[in-house]
């Protein structure tokens, strides 16, 4: 069930909260069991068959964790178990996520393959697989402790993050699952959590779901629309993706907070980024953290060790040579983003998306390293221009991310450059895809007004965690309108939250699934 569905909001969540409150009277262990059971039910509600995949993954990884922990004194044995565990997890992912699309691709280019029946992708498989891999890696390095079965199950399955993140780290979760920390429902956490949830729900239902049909219209028939309609579709997706995913993350953080569990923030106003490095420190932050820790750093470490063995330098000065930059910066960056692209999906367009961002990041690093008077040069480029340039790069990447193929993506980009003609969105062949709740956006003037509102929200206003006073200290302060917009649990906030919820409620039956669901 979606977080934005009636079944979740009116039935599942109240029952789980009530059950949790009652369970807290019986002790922490009962609390954990209740939450784990509720989370498994939540997952099984989608499709009970895939509960076996999730439970199987958890049990197998728990057994591997036991083997790795038992081999803690013997590095070779621990590494062997770790390799086996990672291989098993990757195989599971390859089977469900990449095997059948690859077979389909081979068939499309005329190669004969057996006639396998494709299996559907278990929801959230990437998320729960990578969460467990990270835990096993840290366990083997002594950076994590072996957990009991109940806290491990809860760590993997806790329903707010199970389907689409944020990608949580055991080091930030396990202490919170410590029995001594549990106190049942707390009023301050409930108030904050409910508010966070409603803000996320509003982003999803009031903004993302209303804009979505515009991008669907474009990508259903990319060659059919004129440049204006193409631009509308492209911008609609940029905002839809952000509000949908960050809205989901806000809901997840809010839900966790209702149970006094703190999740890491996942978005920090990414469209305010002034360069692509900054963008990735603000967009899907937990994925960036994961990629850095478990892909980029190990690749860099391997390269450094190889260079050292060959007598080459690995210092910062070494990166200022072309050879050093290529090995120490460009290669790890491109390799990491290539894998990040593959993580997102089994399609060439995702690989292009990953490599494009790898190229952007490499270029950004090169700019920082090779331009001698960078601060002076940066002053020549006003920050709105830097923000716009970053935005253009990001949006181009999103075209590949959203399109069903590289060809379609190129058609969309060609449409933006007026390389083919077309009709307006209201005359487009896919106009039937637009439901009545988004029909008003078919009028270009209304669409522009909607985009202006979106720009004001993403560029001008404080983000959710800033409003709630939950922004990490290191995020700093930025130029925003309504700088003093700060939440407090008072009558005014309650009225605003109820009004926002009412708006969402009116559109609840028209809500769509989250974009990151099939990952």
């Amino acid at each position: 069930m979606l977080f934005s569905s009636a079944a979740f909001i009116f039935v599942f969540l109240p029952v789980v909260l009530l059950g949790y409150h009652l369970a807290s009277k019986m002790g922490s262990r009962v609390e954990f069991v209740w939450l784990a059971a509720a989370s498994l039910f939540f997952y099984g509600y989608w499709d009970a068959r895939y509960l076996f995949v999730l439970v199987g993954s958890i049990l197998v990884n728990f057994l591997f964790a036991g083997k790795i922990a038992a081999a803690s004194g013997d590095e070779r044995r621990a590494s062997a178990w770790l390799i086996a565990a990672v291989a098993a997890n990757i195989l599971l992912l390859v089977w469900y996520k990449y095997f059948f699309p690859t077979v389909g691709f081979l068939q499309s280019i005329g190669l004969q393959t057996p006639d396998w029946v494709a299996v559907a992708l278990p929801l959230g498989i990437s998320f729960f697989t990578f969460t467990q891999i990270a835990y096993l890696v840290d366990l083997s390095q002594g950076a994590a402790a072996k957990q009991g079965i109940i806290s491990y199950v809860l760590f993997v399955t806790f329903f707010p993050h199970l389907i689409a993140g944020p990608i949580i780290h055991h080091s930030e979760m396990m202490p919170q699952f410590d029995a001594r920390q549990r106190k049942g429902l707390q009023a301050d956490d409930m108030a904050l959590g409910m508010t966070w949830f409603i803000l996320g729900l509003s982003k999803k239902v009031l903004l993302a779901d209303r804009l979505g049909p515009l991008s669907d219209s474009l990508y259903a028939q990319p060659a059919a629309l004129d440049p204006v309609a193409t631009l509308i579709g492209v911008l609609a997706y940029a905002f839809q993706l952000y509000f949908d995913f960050s809205g989901y993350s806000d809901m997840a953080l809010g839900l966790a907070r209702m149970f006094s569990i703190k999740f890491p923030v996942n978005f920090n106003s990414p469209y305010k980024a002034r360069n692509i490095i900054d963008f990735w420190s603000r967009w899907h932050m937990t994925l960036t953290r994961y990629l850095t820790a478990y892909l980029y750093n190990p690749i860099s470490l391997y390269i450094n060790r190889r260079r050292m063995a060959l007598g080459k330098k690995i210092s910062k000065r070494a990166t200022r040579t072309l050879e050093g930059f290529a090995e120490l910066v460009a290669f790890p960056t491109l390799a990491t983003m290539f894998l990040a692209g593959i993580w997102h999906g089994a399609g060439l367009q995702f690989i292009v998306f990953g490599l494009l961002h790898g190229f952007y990041l490499t270029l950004n690093h090169a700019w920082r390293i090779f331009t001698p008077d960078r601060p002076k040069l940066q002053r020549l480029m006003p920050w709105p221009v830097a923000m716009a340039l970053t935005g253009v790069g990001v949006v181009v990447g999103q075209v590949f991310f959203r399109a069903s193929s590289v060809g379609d993506a190129m058609t969309v980009l060609g449409g933006l450059l007026h390389l083919h003609g077309g009709v307006s969105m209201a005359e487009g062949p896919a106009v039937g895809l637009v439901p009545s709740t988004s029909g008003f956006l078919m009028n270009p003037i209304h669409a522009v007004a909607a985009f202006v509102l979106c720009f004001v929200i993403v560029l001008g206003l404080p983000n959710t965690q800033e409003i709630l006073g939950e922004a990490p200290r290191e995020s700093g302060s930025e130029r925003t309108l309504l700088k003093r917009l700060a939440w407090a649990p008072n009558f005014a906030s309650a009225t605003i939250m109820i009004a926002l919820f009412a708006g969402c409620f009116l559109l609840l039956d028209a809500s769509t699934s989250f974009l990151y669901f099939q990952f």
Binding site: F10, P14, A187, M194, T195, N490, F505, L506, L508
Partner: protein, 334 residues
């Protein structure tokens, strides 16, 4: 400083700290109660909204401002008391807008009523409508059950097919325990109904009221609902393939034939371009009293699934009239 002064100062300090320590729990209690009140408000609001939707939906204002002709005429069968029609038609919307009692009456000489409702009514309430008809009227000489080919089987779960009107009928006209239990068994659909009701009510402020004549359309046509609309230009690529359930069809025959009535079970003709035609046509023998037929595109409108234009209505009504004549072994009057 003297000891007295120190004592006074000490007393003052003690008095201040006493005041501080008594204020701190009070402030904390106020803060806690504020938090609880805040949570209670946010927690209660969703359920109050649902209740509001259920309160607003059945009001005559909401129906008058719904802009929905079918909604204004839902549950026509409950208006028939001692109508005692010789021919009673029940089915889904393809029957409601596709079978004209006036044509059947002219062809057969038999009084005819069309009590069909959107498929959502059968989905939500089963065969409640024909059962309600029988409570206030004598059994007809012949029942005509007509459904789109995909609706000749019970619904395994609620789908989005005219569900709003069906639920409204229950909460407005059948306000009893069975309705409460029904909604409790489908909480998500019940809540979505409330959300849609509120949305329609908000839109209703901008919409003129339906004229009184709209509410009498079905009464004036013996239950037939003429639906204007442009002719169908192309078939939808959507494939609705649900095999007919012979047990369900047999149940219709046995239940409604128990009073000595004849029972015809038909499937609505489809446009020639219908993608599922072969799927349904391959059933042999056909589960219904007619074989599925393909009509011209111009015999349909684009107003809904298998909704017929006047030419289609005439064709289909005449077909059913011929079936009635043959089944009852009476002479056709025309």
């Amino acid at each position: 400083m003297s000891v007295a002064d120190n004592s006074a100062t000490a007393d003052n300090r003690a008095a201040c700290s006493d005041a501080d320590s008594s204020e701190a729990p009070a402030a904390a209690a106020l803060s806690q109660s504020r938090l609880v009140a805040y949570c209670a408000a946010l927690g209660a609001a969703p359920f109050l909204l649902v209740l509001l939707g259920f309160l607003i939906a059945p009001t005559s204002w909401a129906v008058r401002h719904s802009g929905n002709t079918y909604l204004a005429n839902v549950g026509y069968a409950t208006k028939l008391k001692n109508a005692n029609c010789d021919v009673v038609i029940y089915g889904d919307s393809s029957a409601m807008v596709g079978l004209d009692p006036a044509i059947i009456r002219q062809r057969t000489g038999l009084s005819t009523c069309n009590i069909a409702e959107f498929a959502g009514m059968t989905m939500v309430s089963g065969l409640l409508i024909p059962e309600l008809y029988l409570r206030n009227n004598r059994a007809p000489k012949i029942w005509v059950f007509d459904f789109a080919p995909e609706n000749l089987a019970p619904f395994a779960k609620w789908e989005t097919v005219g569900r709003y009107e069906a639920i409204l009928f229950r909460i407005r006209d059948r306000r009893d325990l069975s309705t409460a239990l029904l909604l409790a068994e489908h909480p998500a659909e019940a809540i979505n109904f409330s959300a849609l009701a509120l949305r329609l009510a908000l839109q209703g402020f901008l919409r003129p009221a339906l004229p009184a004549s709209t509410f009498a359309i079905r009464s004036e046509h013996d239950g037939y609902l003429p639906v204007p609309g442009a002719r169908l230009k192309a078939c939808s690529p959507e494939r609705r393939e649900r095999p007919s359930d012979p047990d369900y069809i047999q149940f219709l025959r046995s239940r409604f034939g128990a009073d000595g009535a004849q029972v015809l079970v038909d499937t609505t003709p489809v446009p020639a371009c219908e993608p599922t035609f072969d799927f349904y046509a391959k059933a042999n023998p056909a589960p219904t009293d007619n074989r599925i037929e393909a009509y011209q595109l111009e015999d349909f409108t684009g107003s809904g699934r298998l909704h017929m234009s006047p030419s289609g209505v005439a064709k289909f009504s005449n077909l059913v009239s011929d079936q009635i004549v043959a089944r009852l072994k009476i002479a056709a009057t025309q």
